[in-house]
Symmetry: D3
Amino acid sequence: MQLQLSTWPEVERYLGTSTGIVMPIGSTEQHGPNGLVGTDAICPEVIARGLGEATGAMVAPTIHVGVAQHHLGFAGSMCLRPSTLIQVVRDCVVSLARHGFDRFFFLNGHGGNIATIEAAFAEIHSEVSMLTRQARRPLRCKSANWWDSRGVSGIGKALYGADEGSHATCSEVSVTQYACPDHIKSANFEGRAPAYSGIHDADDYRRRYPDGRIGSLPSLSTPEAGKRLVEASVRDLAETYRAFLNAD
Amino acid sequence: MQLQLSTWPEVERYLGTSTGIVMPIGSTEQHGPNGLVGTDAICPEVIARGLGEATGAMVAPTIHVGVAQHHLGFAGSMCLRPSTLIQVVRDCVVSLARHGFDRFFFLNGHGGNIATIEAAFAEIHSEVSMLTRQARRPLRCKSANWWDSRGVSGIGKALYGADEGSHATCSEVSVTQYACPDHIKSANFEGRAPAYSGIHDADDYRRRYPDGRIGSLPSLSTPEAGKRLVEASVRDLAETYRAFLNAD
Amino acid sequence: MQLQLSTWPEVERYLGTSTGIVMPIGSTEQHGPNGLVGTDAICPEVIARGLGEATGAMVAPTIHVGVAQHHLGFAGSMCLRPSTLIQVVRDCVVSLARHGFDRFFFLNGHGGNIATIEAAFAEIHSEVSMLTRQARRPLRCKSANWWDSRGVSGIGKALYGADEGSHATCSEVSVTQYACPDHIKSANFEGRAPAYSGIHDADDYRRRYPDGRIGSLPSLSTPEAGKRLVEASVRDLAETYRAFLNAD
Amino acid sequence: MQLQLSTWPEVERYLGTSTGIVMPIGSTEQHGPNGLVGTDAICPEVIARGLGEATGAMVAPTIHVGVAQHHLGFAGSMCLRPSTLIQVVRDCVVSLARHGFDRFFFLNGHGGNIATIEAAFAEIHSEVSMLTRQARRPLRCKSANWWDSRGVSGIGKALYGADEGSHATCSEVSVTQYACPDHIKSANFEGRAPAYSGIHDADDYRRRYPDGRIGSLPSLSTPEAGKRLVEASVRDLAETYRAFLNAD
Amino acid sequence: MQLQLSTWPEVERYLGTSTGIVMPIGSTEQHGPNGLVGTDAICPEVIARGLGEATGAMVAPTIHVGVAQHHLGFAGSMCLRPSTLIQVVRDCVVSLARHGFDRFFFLNGHGGNIATIEAAFAEIHSEVSMLTRQARRPLRCKSANWWDSRGVSGIGKALYGADEGSHATCSEVSVTQYACPDHIKSANFEGRAPAYSGIHDADDYRRRYPDGRIGSLPSLSTPEAGKRLVEASVRDLAETYRAFLNAD
Amino acid sequence: MQLQLSTWPEVERYLGTSTGIVMPIGSTEQHGPNGLVGTDAICPEVIARGLGEATGAMVAPTIHVGVAQHHLGFAGSMCLRPSTLIQVVRDCVVSLARHGFDRFFFLNGHGGNIATIEAAFAEIHSEVSMLTRQARRPLRCKSANWWDSRGVSGIGKALYGADEGSHATCSEVSVTQYACPDHIKSANFEGRAPAYSGIHDADDYRRRYPDGRIGSLPSLSTPEAGKRLVEASVRDLAETYRAFLNAD
């Protein structure tokens, strides 16, 4: 059930049955010569929809831009500063909490967001913890990266081994090829992508990783692999989400 | 050309031909008994894509959540505070400017965003104006509401007359019915929606406008009308966008 | 009744009769060769005082500096960033609300402030709307530009026609000549002022509009015209203000 | 020379002769039963004008609202949070610095502003000190309280002795009686005003000082005393201001 | 070499030999019935000093308060909001960078700080990445938790096994007993501490973990174990720090 | 009683007897050729501990970095912007207030912090004063500089006379020599230190005061003098602190 495609009376009825919501959050940044700039937003969006179908969960609209300052050396990359993203997450959670939502499941598509999402959760809880002795309505926020599941990593490892890499990975490019079959790109890869050696500012990133990839060979990506990865991610995350809903 | 569906080398080539970009910006908020919560994001998104096809413009991902505090009395509505949205717009513009984009065309779907978008533009220009005597690269930002065009308002007036209303309008519900034909909703409208009498906080809004609509009767909405409205909006905005690109 | 010229027991008595207050807000910025830097603050201040006399309304002290980054290319112009002015408006409203004021009528003298004032109102309402289900005391904020009245624009049109312009207008210079008769300036105008062609940053503004004026010929301004304009503005705004007080 | 009453070419000519500017800054807050709410803004404004006449200095418009949270228990008092006022002072200084002003003389009318003004100066210098090794144009900011001069305190002591007090003082009420002769108020003072015993939040202030005064008996105030105080303050501050201009 | 115990000429000489600096960062929060409130600050401080002796590194003063909102249900706990700590880390790094430091090694003592420290690094890099094409002086920031080393976890596992726990751990209490031998506390532990089941706001934390500990039995702590842990941590971190200094 | 060396049950017991707490706050900045960079943090820390012993007061961990932008021209100096330090002080006070602390005694070691500490107090009170009519639990915050006592200044005057100076003073260097006897430094002083002539930005400071000192000759400092100064400061501050606790 997608929030954007529901009416408010439908949302009100949903709240009678569940107070959980899935919040896809991604990034808009280069993903190498054949990866889409939207990869990190498309992946959690398509998986969140699958998760919504599998569990009946409400799915919020995707936050498309994240903390990607290190990719700004490549055309098309966008970035929110961490201090901005903290306020965005805070405002989204606080406004939905007014309606009765109290289980916020951030389905994340970008490693660079992880720390800021956690910091935003602590910022939200700080407002309650610092000022009162009794929170009126305890909120729970949880984040999960779509690729952090046994099923997903098993497939990636089996299909790509050491060519999976850590940015513009074979797996994430595959997911976008499955999600956007009309937008499969090809590229001539000049040699092996350099292995991970740290991430600092944007100029430094471009110098270390000249075509944007880190350690990956995404010419191996296929939409069929993408389909398997999405299904595995949905399966594993549905379990996580249900446990989150039922947890104390 | 959609940014999310492009690779960075494609964006780099685009920048060799144009430095303009269309930025769809909407809201996630109640739209009456049969309007979608995502109406104000769906409308500028579908029209932005049409505009991209008509003019060859690059289209950025949609900002889905806007300034909608007054709708928080209805389930599912989300809100960014103006101070948050100013930073979001600022960060998006500043990071894209690094690549060479310098004509930012915000295609807006929500009246409640207009003031904050303008304030964000002034915030961006203030950084340059306050601190230097010579901006290195002058930016231009412009916003346009998808419904503010002769063609669009002509159709709305002809089809709906006084039933068009000013929130959950017949026109915007029609556009979403065209864009999302699998998600057309129906509702029993209890009497006429009250006319506009001011917008303040959320409790007040709900008291004034009990089912969320202002002055509209969107049972009259149809996907066919939506198609005509989208085409008219694209046609008129394409003209505006081209003039913006060529302007000094 | 001016707040600055009242004692606190007088304000307390006033609050027993009315909870409305007029907040003049202006700008400090160039107004062409013979216009005063303070024009946009002087105009709403003098009109606010007239309004106070006509309606018995309390008048707050003038906010003299506004969002004028685009004028910073001309000596003497001052500017608050929108993010700063939002906090100023918020603090002023919130602190007066403590005493019982709940109808805030911002009488604005500068077009560049309009968006930020509206954004500030939404910021104020967001605090209430996001966090509670029942605002204890609903506030109403409204802004009105002194020149946006039938009476005022009728006079301007009759007297100046196309020479009225849109910055350093004949009308606003006339108002300051009426308000400050000892400070009437003269200037040699070099040719016609260029027509409006957009406002961006400060360097760009100075390039487009070399002496600061947009489309106006304020050598036509007179204190007599200023007197008529002030009286017309007060008359029309008094009506607006009374309706605002009585409105729900 | 008042900034608000000058044209931009006049300001430009002024900058050819001096880069100093006087910035009156006050507060809007209760001043006891017969003191004006605007006392702390009126005093520095009238003295700043005298100072401008005595020294030829440019005088900026008055900042009317300051840090007065402790007075919010009395009707009509307004307050900027320190974090807001820091940004206001910063924006005013930074925008005037663009034109070439580099000696900022804040003439202060309210004790509660002193700390925040100093903090704002450090905030302004921090931007330069943290980020560069060579400031392009060193700014100097200085604040002076109008009452902190030998001449002023001598008169106060001679006329009022122990009845001078420390809020709603006989001297400041006298200055406003001189500046606003049409707005002299009278009141029945119920007993002696309590002596200073600390300032914390607003409720606490009202409990300690029930009619707003601290230690003063302003029924002794006269416009004649106000005239002497203004003249003494201008005389002493003119000396301070000239030294500031010439200082390294 | 401790920064606080050096003169500025000594620091200048140090910068001729190294541009690295160790930044201890901790927290002030409950650590169960016999753990010190300062545990998370004391541990990185003592280890940082060891690291300074082992490698010759400069050691900055300890940041004592961190993100600990979840501990506010227990007396003595203090907390910075993430948005505050981001600015603290940013200001410390930016001001030291002015002198030439460019390798910032944050030695962290509190799990709740990890996300915010990473977010602060991204905030710092964003300033450079968003605004320029060429950073003048690339900074490197790295954080390491004192307990995240093979040597440390080996000792903890060998000595305490499942009683180590995850808050108020046997290991951290041991380190403070070694560092502060005059402040070894004892307590009657009422039963086994509950295992980790999530961390949200402060009231929730206290309900889940009634005496503050998570899964630990720190009556097993000894100063002798603390000594071994400090030495192991210093040994492992010295290796990490040297690699960081030499890294690109 | 030091907070960092207490357990939470000990803090809870303390709160049964007193709600006061001493907050040492300092700075990390150059102190001339033989003064320690940590002087302004070491002094209030050692005196706060003495004060804790003399009065039984709880002593919080030291805030080591303060507002020292003007010292950034000398290696090793660190700085928080005033806007950052205000949030730090606010968060520390608000989180301790939750436990029941309500008398906050900031023992300050750095003149550059004074204004910002006062501004932070007003920021804290503003939250209460602006939004409610009844503060639930009135807080009291007070700051005292360790050197501002009759006893301390008497000793300084007697021992050093005109050589005491105003930065890197003989007294403060003496206190650190007493507190850190293993870190007494010597230096060749090149001539007399220049007298105070204003403090602006960092480059300016270094130009005015080439070796960092202002007016002092700290080759006269001795640990014996330091001991006397600490004892005198503790004695005088204990009196101040006790009065603060008992005050309304």
